[in-house]
Amino acid sequence: MASKSQSCSIWVGSETGILKGVSLSKQQAFNFCEMSCLSRDQEVCVLEWGDPLESEVLVGCANGTVKAFSTEKGIFTESKECGDATQGKFTGLAMMDGSLVTCAESGILKVWKEGCTDTIEINVGNGVCRMRQNPSRRSQVATGGKENPLKVERSISPVSNMVKNDWLDLRVPVWVRDIGFIPDSDKIVTCTGYHQMRVYDPSSPQRRPVLEAEFGEYPLTALSLPASQGTVVVGNTHGQLAVLDLRKGLVRGCLKGLAGGVRGLQCHPTLPLVASCGLDRFLRVHSLEDRSLLHKVYLKSRLNCVLLSSRNLELSGADLSGEVEEVKQEGEEDGETDEVWDAMETVTDKTNKRATEKAAEENAVKGPKKRRKVAKK
């Protein structure tokens, strides 16, 4: 069990309450569930890393419990009751300075301190769809939902409201589905249920979004920021994944393959990869450079959320202080994964490459001919 969980690089939560770990190097998926008794109210709503070393996964369930799963040991270590089903499902989990922050659909944001039974409670309004923590500034948390405008909480106590202003003098409905923090700046990206993507800048005096872009005709359900700056990946209920440009708001490209609504989306912190999971019961990993499908794994239940480990990042910058054996193993794993990715042949990959090569050749051939014609004329 321990070895299985240690080799997993992608964690997925499903509607049946099972935490699934996918190991791309072994090309296998493992189910980690507490006992053989499963129930729908243990449906996994949110997944988050418990610590920066990524040795613990926090699993938020529909019945209000938060379970901690240790990746090294391969078992659920603790379980905490953080509210009940009446408050709605969890929309966000975060670890802040050793205390756990949870947010439910009814808008109750709670901070649970280790050891203490006291909790600080803030109401951020009803109908919250998402709460996210700023990865660079861990004390900042943003929430948003249906008819619930984007709010940023700094260090828990003061609250700054960012109400989107309508510039047509008509009230534009607000439905924030997902939030992302742009690294190295104060800006926040949101995607809405009215198929819009907005970028806000809290440091500017305006309350309006800096950039607004539309994609498709269906609600955007998930958002993720890749390692390379300037783009954002969004997914909608129809299974369309798109890479949008953050400077102009244009669509850079679409990622194909999904048949069902996107529920969870995450980009790898360093590599140009994005993992997506959805209602069609598949986990897909796409490459952001050529937008091709790298891996596709069938996981038998509908999937709610996905969590990527930044494992390869650690491998590339291996610490010398670590044990020699561990480094070797990690190196092998890295080699294996590279081999896996190189050896990974999807028919789409090959045809794409061939098509692009052929197109390049044709263009090269056509080019001089065209020029000759022009010259003659």
Binding site: T16, H238, G260, G261, L279, D280, K300
Partner: protein
């Protein structure tokens, strides 16, 4: 004259065999070689194909001849093989199975394994669990798009005789989102909306009511009772048995359970009626029969009831909400229909 005859012979296409025979007889030894070559069409100028003949009548004639010869050769080959097989007797190699698209179907990784616990749990607790645990009985509401024409109206009526405990209501231009809460309050479990285009039914929305999945189908090939040959009398009120064929993948399972939940749990065998949903190559064929056992091995069937084919376009997770609903499966033609051997149901 000889030259002219020679050129005609060279063209090789003669409309009347007699003419040719005459020419062959008339022509002298010099041209006999050419005549011979005319008769042996296959050996005549290499790379000559029947399509190069410009004259339509001659071309047709030559093509017919070609096909007859091909058929003859095929029959000879078949006879030869049969003789060889008989000669070998027991030692004959087993008969080869011809390749069909169903044989060559690409293995779908979502095919449900009957012993799979996770899938069993998933199905045991999904939206249809209340029906399959015998907690609710189906009650179906059939309606159409606004202002239906005669064919669709008759189709709805016939469909309601096939599905027990179903009621047909006139649409009256109501929005489905408003219809659904009313249906739920009156205890309906299913809503069927038949969409009509140009006086012919062409779409079906099947919505499981409390909060269940909504399936959108394309309907084609609708045959009403009048148009059926050798049909039996109208179906009675007995609950039919339900046959679901070939729903193997996970998506197929969900759709199959949806169809099963339309009919009451216990079929009344006295009625001897059976409704079949047969899935083949992603098309679902609906047939309604009455059967009678003549003896232990022979059954006679009579087709009653409407007949139609369905093709799944999308499966949505909640009740009908085309704008803001979450889709569990959407048919994307360019991505999913690229291979002739890949099917999803």
């Amino acid at each position: 004259m000889d030259v002219l005859r020679n050129t005609e012979a060279k063209k090789g296409a003669k409309t009347k065999k007699q003419k040719r025979m005459n020419e062959c007889k008339d022509v002298e030894a010099e041209t006999s070689v050419q005549a011979d070559s005319v008769e042996e069409e296959a050996a005549f100028p290499p790379n000559f194909s029947v399509s190069e003949i410009k004259n339509k009548q001659r071309r047709h004639f030559m093509f017919m001849k070609l096909k007859q010869e091909k058929r003859k050769r095929k029959l000879e080959l078949k006879k030869k093989r049969k003789k060889e097989r008989e000669a070998l007797g027991d030692k004959a190699p087993p008969k080869e199975v011809p390749k069909t698209i169903e044989n060559q179907r690409i293995y779908d990784e979502t095919t449900v394994n009957p012993e799979d616990e996770e899938v069993a749990f998933d199905e045991g607790t999904d939206e249809f669990s209340s029906y399959f645990n015998r907690l609710t009985n189906p009650k179906v509401l059939i309606t159409t798009s606004d202002r239906p024409r005669g064919r669709t109206v008759r189709f709805c009526e016939q469909l309601s005789t096939a599905v027990p405990d179903s009621h047909v209501y006139y649409r009256r231009g109501l929005a489905l989102k408003r219809v659904i809460p009313q249906c739920i309050s009156r205890g309906f479990t299913f809503l069927i909306v038949i969409n009509e285009d140009r006086k012919v039914p062409n779409g079906m929305v099947l919505c499981h009511l409390p909060n269940g999945p909504t399936a959108h189908f394309k309907v084609s090939s609708v045959r009403l009772r009048k148009e059926m040959k050798r049909r039996g009398k109208d179906p009675t009120e007995h609950s039919p048995e339900v046959i679901l064929n070939n729903f193997t993948t996970r998506l197929g399972h969900s759709i199959g359970r949806m169809f099963a939940a339309l009919f009451p749990h216990d079929p009344q065998f006295i009625g001897r009626q059976v409704a079949t949903f047969h899935n083949q190559r992603d098309f679902i064929f609906f047939r309604f029969h009455r059967y009678i056992f003549k003896n232990e091995k022979k059954v006679g069937i009579q087709e009653l009831g409407p007949r139609f084919t369905l093709k799944l376009r999308s499966l949505q997770k909640g009740t009908f909400d085309s704008k803001y609903g979450e889709y569990e499966w959407v048919h994307k033609r360019h991505e999913m229909d690229s291979s002739r051997r890949k099917f999803h149901l």
